[in-house]
């Protein structure tokens, strides 16, 4: 227990298999869980007077009622067990004396310890070495299925993924009842040992992508998975971009739609969301409601979202470029109003815009970190009171306030917060470039952005696949516009789907 690091601490993270090398026994198990306050064990005699058995479990992980009713009661009261000894007793227990959906005989320490952590109890017969029965009696204390708070639904399903991976797979299974829905479970995280499920539709999803995803999850050698980023950053190809390369959703219906399109899904225990990949840029402009609305309305809303992405990205930079470098491009009346409003403001336009952008980020962050009721107050105080006071005091010009507010509000239309965050980051960069070179700088920034986006790829699929021919496969249907569903007969070719036709 000394504070000095062991020589192994300096070594590259070595993976131990098996994790527990002790031979299986009650004493060894007790040793493994020493200093664990939740470890419990109880001795009793089979049938009340027979062979001594010890049942071990972890409090909180195993459900007390199940343990009592399905394990202790039959052990103590079943008269058939009274006379049974050794192998015969074990056979009786496995074959049905215990009221459990499965009883497994284990001979290694690892699965027994894992079983206890997973909510099972371990049963040791006195005198039986290197054998234990593992009986699942897990507790079901978990958050119930709620509404998707980040992706509200007006016309459609209102259930949301929960933190339990098994609950989540059941939500998917209820929507995709085909046996072709495959679910493979990997365990990731050395200390967290988190179950991570990979889901795909066989015959539709690209098997190569499935293999790659599986390999990457299995290759993850980290301490634990506690955040969505733990999955995202280890699975995707590149981390040198702020743009999300993997799409996530809280909504099972949207997740299932992704699987139907030929994507591969990841569900991770402890995360109330599902990931879909490969991620292409169009995914971040889609909502779960797009297929629920009339196609004309959905197309219009989609166009608005793309337009808002351009607005949020360019408006601050465009304002700086026009006001500072190219005032002749501003309509006369607007120019006169800007001149008049800006006369008493002591700061340069560039400084004003950048300060307002930073202030906007601060307000947003403050609103997010506080409880919702106080957060709303902060937003009102910051947005209205401070903003208005700043304009009244001639600290910022109203035109700057309007430009930054328009850009900020337009950014909120993005269905993906990750994508919105990337746009915010690039907005700063474009504003700085515009302040250095006007429209030329802004144009150069846009070219740089396109160059960056064009270079992104996930699992062999270009990020801009819906808009480019980089994938060298036909696009399924228009990306910005949503056609009537009857016309959307093809899956997107860029995803390398095995079966491109999705309807007659």
């Amino acid at each position: 227990m000394s504070g000095e690091p062991t020589p192994q601490a300096e070594q590259p993270h070595p993976r131990k298999t098996p994790r527990l090398k002790q031979r299986l026994s009650l004493e060894a198990l007790t040793q493994v869980f020493s200093d664990c306050a939740d470890f419990s064990a109880r001795q009793l005699r089979l049938g009340g007077t027979g062979q001594v058995v010890t049942v071990c479990w972890l409090e909180g992980m195993a459900k007390t009622e199940r343990l009592n009713d399905y394990v202790f009661r039959p052990l103590a009261q079943d008269r058939r067990l009274e006379a049974a000894q050794g192998e015969a007793a074990l056979a009786l227990l496995v074959q049905g004396t215990l009221y459990a959906q499965k009883v497994k005989v284990e001979r290694e320490m690892d699965p027994v310890a894992q079983g206890l952590i997973g909510g099972s109890c371990a049963l040791f017969l006195q005198g039986e070495k290197e054998r234990a029965l593992v009986i699942p009696v897990p507790t079901e204390e978990k958050r119930s299925i709620g509404q998707p708070e980040n992706e509200p639904s007006l016309k459609g399903a209102r259930d949301s993924f929960a933190e339990s991976v098994r609950t989540n797979t059941s939500l998917v299974r209820r929507r995709l009842r085909a046996p072709e829905l495959k679910i493979v479970e990997c365990v990731a995280g050395r200390q967290s040992l988190t179950p991570v499920d990979i889901l795909w539709l066989e015959g539709i999803a690209d098997p190569d992508t499935v293999d790659k995803v599986r390999r990457r999850i299995e290759d993850m050698d980290i301490d634990g998975i506690q955040a969505a980023g733990n999955i995202e950053e280890y699975v995707i190809d590149r981390v040198d971009t702020p743009f999300p390369l993997i799409c996530y959703t809280q909504r099972p219906d949207r997740f299932c739609q992704g699987l139907l399109e030929g994507r591969v899904g990841i569900l991770c225990d402890g995360l109330a969301l599902g990931h879909l990949l490969p991620g292409t840029i169009d995914q971040f402009f889609k909502t779960g409601q797009d297929r629920a609305y009339h196609w004309l309305v959905a197309s219009m809303l989609s166009c608005v979202r793309y337009l808002c992405a351009v607005i949020t990205l360019l408006v601050p930079g465009l304002y700086i470029a026009l006001v500072t470098y190219h005032p002749e491009a501003i309509p006369v009346k607007l120019a006169l109003s800007i001149v008049s409003a800006k006369q008493e403001v002591p700061f340069s336009t560039v400084f004003e815009v950048l300060i307002m952008l930073v202030a906007f980020e601060i307000l947003q962050e403050a609103g997010l970190r506080l409880p919702s009721t106080i957060g709303a107050t902060v937003s009102i105080l910051g947005g209205l009171v401070v903003g208005n006071a700043a304009v009244d005091a001639r600290i910022v010009s109203p035109a700057v306030l309007i430009a930054v507010a328009i850009a900020g509000i337009a950014g909120y239309t993005m269905p993906s917060q990750d994508f919105s965050g990337a746009l915010r980051l690039w907005r700063f960069l474009l504003a700085v470039l515009a302040s250095l070179g006007g429209l030329f700088g802004l144009g150069a920034g846009c070219v740089l952005l396109l160059y960056h986006l064009a270079g992104l790829e996930t699992f062999g699929v270009p990020y801009l696949a819906p808009f480019t021919s980089g994938a060298r496969r036909r696009c399924g249907h228009p990306t910005v516009f949503r056609l009537p569903l009857r016309e959307m007969k093809w899956r997107d070719g860029a995803l390398h789907s095995r079966n491109r036709r999705n309807q007659r």
Partner: protein
Amino acid sequence: MRRRTWLLLALLGLGMAWGGLPRGREMGSMALIRTLGVDWEDGQYVVTASTGRRARGFQGEEAMEPLILSARRDTLSAALAAVAAGSEQEVYFGYVDQLLLGRELAERGALPVLERFIGEEELGLGAQVWLICGQAKAAVTCGGEEGAEPRLTVLAKGEEGSAGFGRTVGAVLTDLNENGCAYVPALEQDQRGLLWEKGCGILEADGLRGWLFGAQAQGMKLLTGGGAGDVIELAGGRAAEIVGVRTGLTWDEDSRTMVVRCRIALRLTEGGAGLAQEEREALLRQIETLEEERIGGTLRTLSNWKSDCLGLGRRLRAEHPFRTGGKDVFSNSTLRGAVQAVWEPSG
């Protein structure tokens, strides 16, 4: 490695291009010049600039009266620089929409002023150019608190009874370059100082060829396809408004006559009630005769001056390259105007 090289080259190119960028300026400290007047007085350029009435801000700031700046120097550049230097604010010429040229300057030659709009970074070729039958300075300073700009905009756009005869600096320079002369609308001030249309002047590279006033100016408008909105006063208290004009050019090789055909669509605005069809037809003939006289007068004057400011010769050479013969087709041809007047179908 190769990708990195390209990236470096791109960055290098970007850096070089960056060097040629305009410098950034703050709009809050700018005075936006809207109207620029240039005169020639006693061997010097007199430049007068006006901002026009400056707008209220976004929060209802007080609107400010026009800022009028004037300077007199031997050269145009020095005069413009002196105008800019004479203000407390940074003078910005990027919003000059109206350029007024005084009579003396036009007679001496306005080309240096117009060419200044090509060379100057802030001045644009889209500015309206006017000849003033008098001093440009007086015209710039007229209009009181509003400045001259609103009135000039009305005259250029053809609103409120004006026929809209505006020409841009770019168009005038193009005509000067291609035709050797250009027509420029002329204005004069009345006793109250208000600006009114007053025909047009024919500019040549080295001076003013002459003025077209009255009927000749009307004819010029029709020849340029303008004149919509003009009212023709007829006998018996009747009036017809021109609602559309279309012109075309034909060439009679035998008589070496250039015929400018003009189709005028009209609407009877006064005294039309109860008129029989024959009477309406008679009115049309009357208008045709009147307008043919106007057009004919204009063409005769232009022919006498040998000023093909409408580019008729050039157009004809383009249409009939082997039949018109030589560059001097305009000077060596007879010019005639033919007018067809029609009533615009009602409803």
